[in-house]
């Protein structure tokens, strides 16, 4: 061996090598092409929304963009993660890696961080594209106003459009979108350590995603303790206990219509998401460490 080094930094270096490799794998699998769909959707709807007179076209564009960002980041994380472990096991690359002084814990972390890296970059790219299209449309709206409004009314109207288009408040909202995608990826990783086929992983993960969005309704009904048959009650309670409430991460819609997100609330939700990621990851590690390869 070369120099004596402290084990933690060596371990971090190995995790980084694995994460970077996973990221590279996903990039070379051309998953970024997936984002082209997002680009088409945004640019397409920015052209399409010009026609609406009944609703503010910029608002529609914003809602399309934020919704698409939420769905796309989730789907990207899901599809990328579901195949990571099965592929390594099937190709036996896992043997070669684990025959090096790499623990399964490090391996799993490396894989997950690689996906996180990809998700972070994707959300960044989507945000930039989205902001770009929004800026162009904003300019068009302002030019339109300049043609129709008198000089004295113009500055106020322009300022109003500006304030309604770019809200710095959206940033924490987008961070929560990313966090939700990361949470769902970790869940997918957990499922793939349990599963024997990636079809199962993907399907289960989709189901959890959907249930996760109605879990809140079920939970509040359960906590309120209304009238229901005992069987239904047990079902609802189980649902509330077992599934994460993903709706808590959807705050952009309100931010987009001007609701302020208090910093404390942001950190609470982020902390909640972080805790979920940690728990899912530890469970994944628990399963993976005892799994026969």
């Amino acid at each position: 061996m070369n120099q004596a080094q402290n084990p933690l930094s060596l371990s971090l270096r190995r995790i980084w090598a694995l994460a970077h490799n996973t990221f590279l794998e996903l990039v070379r699998l051309k998953v970024f092409y997936f984002l082209l769909l997002f680009a088409f959707l945004i640019i397409g709807s920015s052209l399409f929304t010009v026609q609406f007179s009944f609703q503010n076209p910029l608002q529609v564009l914003k809602d399309v963009g934020l919704g698409a960002m939420s769905i796309f980041s989730w789907l990207l994380g899901l599809l990328c993660t579901a195949n990571l472990l099965p592929k390594d096991m099937e190709d036996r690359t896992l043997y070669t890696i684990l025959a090096k002084p790499v623990s399964r814990f490090e391996y799993l972390q490396g894989k997950l961080y690689g996906v996180f890296l990809l998700l972070g970059l994707s959300v960044l790219l989507m945000s930039l594209l989205f902001a770009g299209v929004l800026a162009i449309r904003e300019q068009q709206e302002i030019a339109e106003l300049a043609r129709n409004l008198s000089a004295e009314n113009l500055p106020a109207a322009v300022a109003e459009i500006r304030a309604a288009t770019f809200q710095m408040n959206l940033l924490p909202g987008v961070v929560l979108i990313l966090l939700k995608a990361m949470l769902c990826s970790t869940l997918t990783l957990l499922l793939s350590t349990l599963a024997t086929s990636s079809v199962f992983t993907v399907l289960t993960s989709v189901v959890v995603y959907l249930i996760g969005h109605v879990q809140g309704i079920a939970r509040e009904a359960w906590l309120a303790g209304g009238q229901a048959s005992p069987l239904l009650k047990v079902l609802i309670a189980g649902m509330a206990l077992a599934f994460p409430d993903l709706q808590l991460f959807n705050v952009v819609d309100e931010i987009a219509v001007g609701t302020a997100l208090p910093a404390l609330l942001f950190w609470q939700v982020a902390g909640f998401g972080g805790m979920y990621i940690l728990v899912y990851f530890l469970l994944a590690q628990l399963v993976f460490s005892t799994r026969e390869l």
Partner: protein
Amino acid sequence: MSATAILIKDLCKEFPVPFRRETVKAVQNLSLEVPAGEVYGLLGPNGSGKSTTMKIVLGLIRPSSGSTEVFGVDSRRVESRENVGFLPENPYFYKYLTGLETLLFFGKLCGLSGRHLRERSFELLQTVGLEEAADRRLGGYSKGMLQRIGLAQALLGEPRLLVLDEPTAGVDPAGAHAIRDLILQCKQRGITVLLCSHLLGQVQEICDRIGIMDRGELLAEGRIDDLAGKKNQIEMVLENATPTLLESLGALSLASGARVVSQRGARTDLEKFFLDVTRHRS
């Protein structure tokens, strides 16, 4: 450091058969010891448990009972793999990486970095004869090339123990020859090698000791000469021998109480012939 490279004690491994009660006994009561510096060959038909034994030694799968140690460290601990290089059976790497990137990646996992890692990678690419393919993606490599990059990868961390699962499977004779030379080089440098193969000729050439497995059990073990040498026989190859000479040799043997067991026209080894032909071309 322990003078024993690999220690296997009463190893058993059973695989469950899905949807059945029974199990497959892949390894049964296997005990063996490989001293440091030795080249040990595991022989056996397909499915006899060679790969399973290797995977357990490397901590990739858990034994059902018994234990394995590498340089005195239990295989279940990560540290046991610090001085080990492994070439899996039919190695398969990330297709999207080039040869060089593959070595850099595995080097980082071994704790290497920076200039040292690059130099070492280039050196090994040269050693296994892949310097021209260094920037091509592994997706386009042939089986033999994959085997060689696998070997390079196993040698990256300057291991003291090499575990090679059928290193020459699917490799052309020239490649197999090169791989054999490489293993011999390692042996000279004092690296312990555990290999399995069903090419008995090769095993005979390079191994100090062999073990023969069948259905998970070790049936025989010992030094090659002890197992396969015929102590009271000797072979002799003559050139330009006249029939008269042969006749008188026969008579002489008989007179001294020896016996000519067989006599035939010598052929060159087909492998040697193949190597000569291909070497002259290039």
